[in-house]
């Protein structure tokens, strides 16, 4: 059991079931409306129906659109043309072991009573350590304020006993919000159900507590490899090995000192 769970038994999260996503982007709009985030990307990207391109400091939900033409050589044999269009609403993973939180020097990033990870805008000094620490490339600095920003899982709404804006807006229950342990149980059943229907490619992403981030607070049901959706296949908290690294660094430093000493010693010879 991770330290988080023992401290916060009511940890909440998102389960994004991409098999139910219809790519309407209501989550993106609801997020920006509630959190008063500016619309900054007024550019046609020519990448399917995705024009916001990626998660960022002012885009806290992002729907990826992936067009696939499965096996074009046989397309048409069964009368279909073999298209598949994957859609997935990405969001901050609210990692159990959150590197952004580990590296934050000011304490602006903190773990809430809901088990989520939130940046306090009035404390953040904009150093940007968290930006490079995030294994998913989620967190970024806002150009206007200079501070780091990302999904708060609508911390203000949670404190008012409401659900996050994106989950409320989702018309097809692709974005589900609730106690994380319940969501994980439900997600496991859902995968089993889909496998039973012959959707053998269904798999969970971020639901495993033994992964490199200790399991995500926002996890996904995908229909293809994570890379296809722009997700790292084996994410790891960049701070996970810090302890070992410091040990190695100390050893290396020791060896260096010894080496230098030896060199000087040799030089005197």
């Amino acid at each position: 059991m991770s330290a988080i769970e023992s401290r916060a038994p009511s940890r909440v999260g998102f389960f994004t079931d991409t098999t139910l996503c219809i790519g309407c982007k209501a989550c993106e709009v609801a997020c920006k409306e509630w959190n008063e985030l500016p619309a900054t990307d007024m550019e046609f990207t020519a990448t399917s129906y995705d024009n916001t391109a990626a998660l960022g400091a002012t885009t806290w939900r992002h729907v990826a659109f992936i067009e696939q033409r499965r096996d074009p050589t046989t397309a048409g044999a069964d009368g279909t043309h073999g298209m598949r269009w994957l859609m997935s609403s990405d969001v901050c993973k609210h990692c159990s072991n959150a590197a952004c939180l580990d590296v934050c020097p000011t304490g602006a990033l903190f773990r809430t009573e809901f088990g989520t990870v939130v940046v306090q805008q009035d404390i953040c000094n904009g150093c940007g350590y968290c930006v490079s620490a995030c294994p998913f490339g989620v967190i970024d600095r806002r150009l206007d304020t200079g501070t780091a920003a990302k999904c708060t899982m609508c911390y203000d709404r949670l404190r008012a006993d409401a659900q996050p804006a994106c989950a409320t807006a989702c018309p097809t229950r692709s974005i589900q919000f609730g106690p994380l342990d319940e969501l994980r149980r439900h997600a496991a059943e859902r995968v089993e159900q889909l496998h039973g229907r012959g959707v053998s490619e269904a798999r969970l992403y971020g639901a495993d507590e033994d992964d490199g981030i200790g399991g995500a607070g926002a996890f996904f049901l995908l229909l293809d490899e994570p890379e296809v959706y722009g997700l790292p296949p084996d994410p790891a908290a960049t701070t996970r090995d810090l302890g070992a690294m410091w040990k190695a660094a100390a050893l290396a430093a020791g060896a260096l000192v010894a080496g230098v000493a030896a060199a000087f010693a040799g030089g005197r010879r």
Partner: protein, 815 residues
């Protein structure tokens, strides 16, 4: 549906999770296709071939629901001996007048006995019975023809046809859902008719999980048809009186009421409407003020009005919640027409293109219009949004849902109700001293809705009370059965009668689904009489028992002697299932106990439509007005009855009734995206929506991109005889080339949301589309035309018109 109606699509997703098979037919692979079990890419404009193929499949494999078809449709009726089908007349029905381009429908009638009842052959074997006529009519719509005309492989077509048949019958039902683009063809009404034939044959009407759902383009477009903004209808689908013919109430009723069936009570509905509008001024002595109603003498629909503006006959134009400069076919022609007006009033949320055409339309850039030459006086009135006003929405299920004002509108923004209430008030004040007879209609109106607040906002519930109706004592009515033709009742819309029953706003009810039955009768209010499904008597067999327990919905309870069930029965409550109407019966009494379709004079669904449609009693595939292919089914290329306007500014790409000559080799189709709303007035002016689809683009296949040198992310210019527009290029496999008549054909997909104003701007797709209409309802054929597409941006200024002229010349067409 996911693309245009994502919120409604949640129910499709729920059905899918419960095992429903979702089939999506569309030239483009959309967000609906992404979650559908089967996507069928089709050549735009060939749906009657595809659906007709399914009709033939059902008939030839005898998969139709025999008991339902015999009892509840006119399959057993006999078509007149005088009738000749398109089989016999090279693509025309009997009665065609080439000169007038109209049908004399008299030969389409059904045989009747001395009492006026249909002559029936329940064995369905008589060669003149409707089912046999249908069989011969659709015999040529084979899977091979479907493949050849639609570009849909036989195997895929048969998969769809079998899936529909397998999922219909006593135990199962299938539903058709369409976004209203389906109607936007010169044979649009017949598209829906063909779907209706399928649903009748499979027994999928009036039963849970069945039906044909029209997903309307805006919130409450259903409501604005019920209480219409249409030129030829009064509230509740009462026809607008015609000049000459409908001189008084008696002649109007004689000319328009069907003596048998629910329309037999039409006089009660009309008189109650007149009493609602003119109150105590409407008396039996003055024909209940029937003479005050305006009369129509011609087609006064949208496009006829535009032509009238071009011709200088229409002087003023009031545009409310619409953006014809972007949203109507041939936007350029609309803008030129508006420049010919004396005055124009635009009421909208934002300063849309229709309001500013005089200073920044594309025609200003090309020099076709000069601001200083335009004499049109333009008024812009800012409108309140739906969150800023009370009122009701009526959705596609005929469900009225009340909406409470959340916040006051800002500045000068006002509700529609405020606008029309005070407009009427001021006009009446100006006319107060008039003694002219023509002003009586305005001065006699009841115009007393209570106002409140500093802005004098009228009470929306008071309007709903009037719509619902009251009796002589002023008590709210509970059902249209209570309406009388003696002036003792008033009702603003007979089908809405009872929406304020008991003095309670029934449309504001919000009992959660979890706290009531699965039919959810206590959420809002559905017309008529809170019936959630029309013709639901058809959910029981002729004896009144459910066709199956699984699909039980409404049934006859012999112990109480009434119809009962999960829903309010759409049938006379105590009418025995074996009731046979006596000879000479009129109105609802003329409908038998096993005849569920109570709005039809015969109580039966119409496989064969003997009267009422101007382009034929059965659907026929004709090519669109513009098509790169010859009609493979009949010698007639395009619908003979389609409504055309061959005139300057509305030139066709090709000679009428001939396939394209090559200058416009591709099919172009227009559509919506989830991120934007129709002509953009509600979305292009908002940054958080605009960033999601920030620029006008076209969708082309990799093969077409290669053929024309188009690059993903680059620019393309799309050309027709009307105009040329530019768009960013999205190369995608989602709009696949199809094999039609032995060759590969390409389709160009265009979202139609953009115009020159707002946060996100772009050329308007509708500038490319010509005005050719369905003759029944005057809807434009905007879902299929031909075009050319070239790499790069379009020319500017006069070079643009020169380019369009050049294209037209190369096709041998002259301006």
């Amino acid at each position: 549906m996911a693309e245009c109606h994502p919120v409604g699509f949640q129910w499709v997703m729920e059905a899918k999770e419960r095992g429903a098979v979702v089939i999506h037919v569309d030239p483009r692979f959309t967000r609906t296709s992404a979650v559908a079990d089967i996507h069928v890419p089709i050549r735009a404009g060939t749906d009657i071939v595809f659906l007709g193929g399914i009709v033939r499949h059902i008939l030839e494999t005898e998969r139709y629901f025999q008991d339902y078809v015999v009892a509840y449709t006119n399959a057993a009726a006999m078509v007149s001996e005088d009738f000749r089908d398109t089989e016999d007349l090279d693509g025309l029905f009997s009665g065609w007048d080439e000169e007038a381009r109209t049908y004399d429908q008299s030969s389409w009638r059904l045989d009747r006995d001395g009492d006026g009842r249909l002559v029936l052959d329940p064995s369905l074997q008589h060669p003149r019975c409707v089912l046999q006529v249908l069989r011969r009519h659709f015999a040529r719509y084979t899977p091979e023809v479907v493949e050849d005309a639609c570009g849909v492989p036989r195997a895929l077509f048969l998969r769809v046809a079998d899936a529909l048949c397998d999922n219909s019958g006593r135990e199962r039902t299938s539903a058709f859902c369409y976004a209203v683009g389906w109607t936007q063809h010169s044979t649009g009404v017949q598209y829906i008719r063909t779907a209706a034939i399928i649903q009748q044959l499979l027994g999928n009407i009036g039963r849970p999980g069945g039906g044909i759902m029209a997903l309307r383009g805006h919130a409450s477009i259903q409501g604005s048809t019920d209480i219409p903004t249409l030129f030829n209808l009064l509230p509740g689908y009462l026809p607008m009186p015609r000049a000459g013919a409908d001189a008084d109430l008696d002649s109007y009723i004689t000319n328009n009421a069907t003596p048998t069936g629910q329309w037999g009570n039409m006089r009660s509905y009309v008189v109650s409407l007149l009493r609602a509008w003119w109150g105590d001024a409407a008396t039996a002595d003055n024909d209940f003020c029937f003479g005050h109603l305006p009369r129509i003498d011609d087609d006064h629909s949208t496009y006829a009005t535009t032509m009238g503006m071009l011709d200088g006959e229409v002087k003023g134009f009031l545009v409310v919640g619409e953006n014809p400069a972007v949203g109507s076919a041939n936007g350029r022609m609309h803008r030129l027409a508006m420049a010919n007006l004396d005055w124009l009033v635009v009421r909208d949320l934002a300063m849309i293109e229709t309001a500013t055409f005089w200073k920044d339309s594309p025609e200003i850039e090309t020099g076709e219009l000069r601001t200083e030459d335009i004499a049109t006086e333009v008024f812009f009135l800012p409108a309140a949004a739906h969150t800023e006003k009370d009122g009701s929405f009526t959705n596609t299920q005929r469900l009225l849902q009340w909406r409470h004002k959340a916040t006051e509108p800002v500045g000068d923004c006002r509700s529609e109700l405020w606008f029309y209430h005070h407009l009427g008030r001021i006009i009446r004040e100006k006319l107060r001293d008039s003694s002219l007879p023509r002003d009586r209609a305005v001065l006699d109106l009841r115009w007393d809705h209570p106002e409140s607040g500093p802005r004098r906002e009228p009470d929306a519930e008071a309007v709903l009370r009037e719509v619902s109706g009251w009796d002589a004592a002023g008590a709210q009515l509970s059902s249209f059965d209570e309406l009388r033709d003696d002036g003792s009742t008033a009702c603003g819309c007979w089908i809405y009668c009872g929406c304020f029953a008991g003095g309670v706003n029934q449309t504001a009810r919000r009992t959660p689904g979890s706290s009531q039955s699965w039919v959810a009768p206590e959420w809002g209010w559905a017309w008529p009489a809170n019936r959630r499904m029309l013709y639901n008597r058809a959910s029981a067999d002729p004896q009144g028992q459910p066709w199956s327990q699984r699909k039980a919905y409404v049934w006859w309870d012999a112990t109480t002697g009434t119809w009962t069930g999960h829903d309010v029965p759409d049938f006379a409550r105590g009418k025995l299932p074996d009731y046979v109407a006596p000879a000479g019966a009129r109105g609802p009494e003329a409908i038998g106990g096993a005849e569920p379709f109570v709005m039809q004079g015969d109580g039966r669904a119409q496989l064969f439509v003997a009267s009422g449609l101007v382009d034929g009693p059965l659907p026929v595939h004709y090519e669109a007005d513009e098509s790169p292919f010859a009609n493979a089914l009949y010698p007639r290329q395009s619908s003979p009855a389609r409504q055309t306007f061959r005139r300057r500014h509305n030139e066709p790409n090709q000679a009428p009734d001939e396939p394209d000559g090559g200058a416009f080799p591709y099919v172009v189709t227009t559509y919506r995206l989830t991120e934007h709303h129709t002509a953009g007035g509600m979305s292009r002016f908002l940054r958080r929506l605009s960033e999601l689809q920030p620029e006008m683009f076209c969708e082309v296949s990799p093969a077409l991109a290669a053929e024309r040198g188009l690059h993903n992310g680059g620019w393309a210019t799309i050309v027709t005889a009307r105009s040329a527009i530019e768009a960013r290029v999205l190369v995608t496999d989602r709009i696949p080339p199809l094999r039609v008549q032995g060759r590969i054909m390409h389709q160009v997909g265009l979202p139609y949301h953009w115009g020159g104003r707002g946060v996100s701007t772009g050329d308007a797709a509708n500038d490319l589309v010509g005005v050719v209409l369905d003759p029944n309802v005057h809807i434009q054929e905007s879902k299929t035309a031909t075009c050319d597409i070239r790499p790069g941006r379009r020319p500017r200024g006069t070079a643009l018109t020169a380019m369009v002229d050049e294209h037209r010349r190369s096709q041998g067409m002259r301006r």
